[in-house]
Symmetry: C2
Subunit: 161 residues, 2 copies
Amino acid sequence: MQGQHLHYLASGTIRSQCEDNLPTRLKMLFDGTAEVVRTYTPDCAAVEKVFVNANPQSTLLLGQARGAAICAVVSDGLPVAEYTALQLKQAVVGYGRANKNQVQEMVKRLLNLTSIPSSDAADALAMAICHAHGLRTLNALDKLAPQAKHGLHLRRGRLIL
Amino acid sequence: MQGQHLHYLASGTIRSQCEDNLPTRLKMLFDGTAEVVRTYTPDCAAVEKVFVNANPQSTLLLGQARGAAICAVVSDGLPVAEYTALQLKQAVVGYGRANKNQVQEMVKRLLNLTSIPSSDAADALAMAICHAHGLRTLNALDKLAPQAKHGLHLRRGRLIL
């Protein structure tokens, strides 16, 4: 984000090989995320706040993968924000129950992309947009009325006292 | 482990503060584990293979914590072995349904400790003993009949072809 404008820099997905054992797969996720941090030197990170899956084994796997990605970011000292899928869709599409196609379409428009991003990449970009919107509100408030910002902070994608 | 003998070096637990947010807690786990690796420069690591909890939220939390600990180890290039609680108890007590007190007592005896270790530390030490036993078997086989070791490896605490 530069001033009031969102700029697209890069997006992608990190995939591990299903045939590898779990520690190796977690290492791929961790190293891949750490490489993104080293390459683009962001100021902050945002991850989706997940809810438990119907399948407990998938929940455990998801937790481990999420732990690996968060560790790669926090070990570099970056703050991490968390938003639910509902908050993400509200921020990007304006409607919490928007479908994947709507998220992809809005991400393409908001970032002036030449083509529709893949579903996973669109989710990640939407997460970044959602966080940037919250930060922009906080910064705008700071310029308009610095004293009004006192005690305010972002929590769950909302400005709260 | 030195030759045929097990030597106690250190043990402990890493605790995060419940009032901290999740990324901060994962960072504490990650940094704490990485510090242990830097301090004692082990050749390998072993973690408990967990089964899903009745409470899905706990399963997700456990997964994230496990992901953080494994990442701290694999990011340093260490191989990670995984054993179930059943395998751990079989290796240390000789009985898969042994209780916590029995594990603590056997860990104290096997490592010639002067006092009973805490329950969590005893579990971690038992995990190390379980892994060392498997490695010792593999090394002994290598000395007796190197050709017999061909194609053998450790999996789930057992030597397999």
